[in-house]
């Protein structure tokens, strides 16, 4: 650890029970306070303090996030994020799918970075199984995940720009992201919800000529990042909308279990890729990007620089990616090759068993975590020895990060609320699961 001790700040602000920033009120109670011009009583009360409902279908709420804002004039006093509009019981679904089908379920959680959910599920399953995946599979996973981080952060740049009125940024961000998704489509068959990383390795080897495709990405994205900097960083309106808005101290971020760019933007130097290395992150060189004051601008800048760091990792993977198998040859989890099925009855039965009953995973419980573009993505798996998880819990970084919202918006104007939501970058599929 660094010798210089970071001033963590005071975390008492986020511990208050009186709800000075967090609105702790049911929807029904809040509905009674909503301004009704026909009601003389509430009309009067609303003149000083009113409850404003924002969302769930507001364009800047990134999906279906609803906020109750307690306002005094244009100032936000307390607020409450209301979630669950996208809740589809994916943890329950996970208990009713085999370990082989599991990635098809978890990949739909964080739809902006699906490969990370698949990865963390596969890592947890592999720990329970006690199997090692081949080197090549590990490096392919790293390559795909880092490209996914690029795509996810590009999506953030696009939506963040759009939320703040830089509408052309939206088009640029989507344009570059599309290039990455095109590569994903070539390798995995799909632009999103890939089901590519599976327990035991990956679904298929990289496509022919993948080096050229990746080099193409490495060629086109960095110059465009420089363009973004000119477009956004150097623009006084953009800076004015973000600088000093939604400030969080490191101690507050830690107390609120915030992770990822939100934690790093406060100046706290923490990244699971470096501090708890998984895959082969200890064999590549990259910098952990940190901010200085934890405002919305820092969160924007951290993500922009993380794209560059991810591309730097991808560049190293191009040279380091070893030859070999792309999935484990452990017959317990890997179906036989297609050609064997034509020759051998046993291979056909084996194939059939794996895809109908699934493979049995030894009893136990395990927690695996990876650094997703939004922070610590964890998977807690409990197996009872059967082919399906007994319990599958995903620790979604957006779910925890969303708790910072009321503290970031407290005392700011309602116009800043949009900038703050955008800078937290929640993906509602993962929040609601």
């Amino acid at each position: 650890m660094a010798a210089v001790r970071l001033d963590l700040g005071d975390d008492e602000r986020v511990r208050r029970r009186d709800g000075s920033a967090v609105l702790r009120m049911t929807e029904v109670e809040a509905a009674d306070l909503v301004l009704d011009p026909h009601d003389p009583v509430t009309g009067e009360r609303a003149a000083e303090r009113m409850i404003l409902n924002m969302g769930p279908a507001h364009p800047s709420t990134h999906g279906v996030l609803r906020l109750l804002l307690e306002m005094e004039g244009e100032t936000v006093l307390r607020s409450k994020p209301i979630i669950g509009y996208l809740h589809t019981g994916m943890e329950k679904t996970g208990e009713n799918l085999t370990f082989l089908q599991g990635p098809t379920n978890v990949t739909r959680m964080d739809y902006a970075s699906p490969l990370f959910s698949e990865l963390v599920f596969a890592l947890a399953t592999e720990q329970l199984l006690g199997i090692e995946v081949p080197e090549r599979a590990t490096w392919i996973r790293m390559l795909m995940c880092e490209l996914n981080r690029v795509a996810s952060h590009l999506l953030f740049q696009a939506t963040n720009g759009m939320d703040l009125g830089a509408v052309s940024m939206m088009i640029y961000g989507w344009r570059e992201r599309e290039e990455v998704l095109r590569f994903f489509e070539k390798v995995t068959g799909l632009r999103m919800n890939h089901n590519y990383i599976r327990p035991g390795g990956v679904a298929a080897d990289l496509s022919d000529g993948w080096q050229d495709d990746v080099r193409h990405l490495l060629d086109i994205i960095p110059p465009r990042l420089d363009e973004y900097e000119v477009l956004l960083n150097d623009q006084p309106i953009f800076r004015g909308r973000l600088q000093g808005v939604g400030v969080l101290a490191p101690a507050e971020a830690l107390a609120l279990s915030a992770t990822g760019p939100i934690l790093r933007a406060t100046g706290y130097d923490w990244d699971l890729r470096r501090d708890e290395p998984y895959l082969a992150y200890d064999r590549v060189d990259f910098d952990v990007v940190v901010g200085t004051c934890g405002d919305a601008f820092d969160r924007f800048a951290v993500r922009l620089e993380e794209i560059r760091q991810s591309l730097h990792i991808v560049e190293q993977i191009l040279d380091l990616l070893p030859d070999g198998d792309y999935r484990t040859q452990d017959k317990k989890v890997t179906p036989p090759p297609r050609a064997r099925i034509d020759e051998s009855m046993e291979a056909l039965i084996h194939h059939f068993k794996i895809f109908t009953e699934g493979f049995h995973v030894p009893e136990g419980e395990v927690y695996a975590a990876v650094e997703s573009p939004r922070g610590e993505l964890g998977c807690y798996l409990v197996s009872d020895g059967g082919p399906k998880p007994y319990r599958m819990h995903i620790r979604g970084p957006s779910f925890a990060n969303l708790q910072t919202l009321p503290h970031l918006m407290h005392g700011r104007l309602v116009a800043d609320a949009v900038a703050v939501i955008s800078s937290v970058d929640p993906i509602m599929g993962e929040v609601d699961r």
Binding site: V14, R15, H87, S257, G364, G378, R391
Partner: protein, 168 residues
């Protein structure tokens, strides 16, 4: 002194059962010693609570791996703490009986568990004493039942809709 305080004191010196599963440290404090254990871990340097969830062991009661002296119960509250300076994680598994599914809230120690405890209440019906906003989080406020419990069925169930407002 309330009953929980007495229980916490009685367990203060008793060592908390622990195991290592797949290289991960797991502690098994009982309910009375739960808060005191988390507090002493926090003071030791476990600076953030990464995760809090519940497992319903209704259909898998005879789970192995529990150390001796830990009485298995239907629910298990699972808490993950992370010490950044030493880069160590620890997981706490607290046994919670089905007839009284209540544990103290961690809000005063780790405010970040607020949403996670609400989720645990919502989906499992385990309540957290002293939680500042003990309400449902993912499901509608008037929902009946706790769907992640093992005795809640899956498949086609009538969806509960709130009646549309007739005010407009």
């Amino acid at each position: 002194m309330s009953e929980t305080d007495v229980a916490a004191e009685a367990h203060e010196d008793a060592p908390v059962a622990s195991t290592t599963l797949f290289g991960q440290d797991v502690l098994y404090p009982d309910r009375g010693a739960y808060l005191a254990t988390v507090e002493s871990l926090r003071d030791e340097g476990y600076c953030t609570a990464t995760d809090l969830t519940v497992v319903d062991y209704l259909t898998h009661p005879g789970r192995s791996g529990l150390p001796g002296g830990v009485q298995p119960e239907r629910f298990e509250v699972v808490v993950g703490l992370f010490d950044h300076a030493r880069r160590e994680r620890v997981r706490l598994r607290i046994q919670v009986p089905a007839d009284d599914p209540t544990v103290p809230s961690l809000f005063d120690l780790f405010p970040g568990t607020e949403a996670m405890e609400r989720e645990a209440w919502d989906l499992f019906g385990v309540s957290f004493e002293g939680h500042p906003d003990h309400s449902r989080i993912l499901l509608p406020e008037d929902w009946v039942g706790h769907p992640l419990r093992k005795d809640e069925g899956i498949g086609a169930i009538p969806v509960q809709f709130k009646s549309a407002s007739d005010r407009r």
